[in-house]
């Protein structure tokens, strides 16, 4: 039970243990813990940033999809308009062609009627002349009476 030399040995051994812990034990462990805390903090920040970036990207994608839809709608609209225009044009062209053909046909009909009328007039004039010749019983000189005959034809 007495105080003896053990006191000094125990005190020194304790002091040596403290020194060893202070020099070789504590610093690496504290450093590792602080390193890990820093790493975790950085990881959390990085995760937060990644989440924000993902949100940004999502928003951008949504905007782009909306724009693409809009563009597609515009393109379809324009195509429809073009198709309508082309149809209208074709209709107009057809109608114009139709008119033109109709006019030409009418002109043909008119000229053919004119010619028929003229033929008819000629024949009537000839018949008239032949009739007159028969009536007069004498030869009418066609050359001498050309003018008279032409005038007659015109009047008919």
């Amino acid at each position: 039970m007495n105080i003896n030399l053990t006191l000094i040995i125990q005190g020194l051994a304790f002091f040596a243990t403290v020194l060893l812990v202070m020099k070789y034990g504590w610093p690496p462990i504290m450093a590792a813990i602080e390193d890990r805390q820093k790493k975790i903090a950085e990881g959390l920040v990085a995760a937060e940033r990644a989440r924000a970036e993902l949100q940004d990207a999502d928003a951008r994608v949504a905007v782009e999809i909306r724009q693409a839809r809009q563009q597609a709608a515009e393109i379809i609209d324009r195509a429809q308009q073009q198709a309508n225009q082309m149809l209208d044009q074709a209709r107009e062209d057809t109608l114009a062609e139709l008119g033109r053909l109709k006019a030409a046909a009418q002109a043909d009909i008119a000229s053919m009627a004119q010619r028929a009328r003229e033929d008819l007039r000629d024949q009537v004039a000839k018949l008239a002349v032949q009739g007159a010749a028969k009536i007069l019983q004498r030869e009418i000189d066609p050359a001498a009476h050309r003018a008279l005959l032409d005038q007659l034809a015109t009047e008919i």
Binding site: T6, I9, Q10, G11, F14, T17, V18, P28
Partner: protein, 282 residues
């Protein structure tokens, strides 16, 4: 836990208790002081080696990656002590936290030797030719006083380092009673006396508190073991005292787990407080 039937061979209860409280001693010189308690020193050094081996291994393996179980355990203790020290001491010091950790773990381990069945190691010792063996280093006043004196010296060193020699010695005469002029001279010896008492009381209270608790704990384990001292299968009392002893041993062991942890914690906490006070300016 303490079977000690054959212990009675030595001769009775007094002999048994006395035997248990006797250190294995080596008389280096003549007189009372140059004696070494070999059992105390050996157990202490063994526990220190275990502690240092485990702790420095953990320190060498420590990295910022995912910690394993052992590393997580060591780091839990380290962080616990570190936070406790930060709450109490608001300066920066490379000494306080490692010192506190060493105190807590070492005192806990030394106290823990009290939970080893009280007759087991002495019995093994006797089997290998050692006449005495006391295995609880903190139940030896030399250990607790040795540690307390080391802490005392560290307190003085810490105070000197943090305040500088001028302020350190000036405060011996000017605190706790401050005065000016003539009164300062009158109060100087009173201040010095108070300071000396304050400083002297610390290692004494620190060491005696731990020693008292552990010595009493050890003694109660011995007294519980005495219940079945000299018991034989032929005695009726053996069958009455046996179960009572088992119960008492169990209850006291459970209670003692609390005590050894608490005492280790108190020793650490008071050291932190004393060191913080030494660094404070008055």
């Amino acid at each position: 836990m303490a079977e000690s039937a054959e212990q009675a061979a030595g001769g009775g209860m007094t002999e048994y208790i006395h035997h248990h409280l006797h250190n294995l001693q080596w008389h280096v010189g003549s007189g009372v002081f140059p004696v070494i308690n070999i059992d105390t020193v050996a157990v202490t050094l063994l526990l220190m080696a275990v502690f240092l081996g485990a702790f420095i291994t953990a320190a060498r393996r420590a990295n910022a990656g995912v910690p394993g179980r052992f590393q997580a355990f060591v780091e839990m203790v380290v962080v616990g002590v570190d936070e406790l020290v930060r709450e109490t001491f608001h300066g920066s010091s490379k000494l306080i936290a490692p010192l506190s950790l060493t105190i807590f773990v070492l005192v806990f381990m030394m106290n823990f030797m009290d939970l080893v069945p009280v007759d087991l190691l002495p019995w093994l010792g006797r089997a290998s030719g050692l006449p005495y063996l006391r295995v609880v280093p903190t139940a030896d006043l030399n250990t607790t006083l040795g540690m307390a004196l080391t802490v005392f010296l560290l307190i003085q060193y810490f105070g000197l380092k943090h305040k500088g020699p001028r302020l350190f010695f000036k405060e011996m005469f000017t605190a706790p009673f401050h005065a000016h002029g003539f009164m300062a001279i009158v109060l100087a010896p009173i201040n010095l006396l108070l300071r000396l008492i304050e400083e002297a009381v610390r290692p004494v209270s620190l060491s005696l508190r731990l020693f008292g608790n552990m010595y009493a704990g050890e003694l109660i384990f011995i007294l519980i073991a005495v219940m079945s001292l000299g018991a034989g299968l032929a005695h009726g009392m053996t069958y009455v005292m046996g179960p009572i002893q088992g119960m008492a041993d169990f209850v006291w062991t459970v209670f003692h787990i609390l005590i050894i942890t608490l005492q280790a914690f108190i020793f650490m906490m008071l050291t932190v407080v004393y060191l913080s006070m030494a660094a404070e300016h008055h």
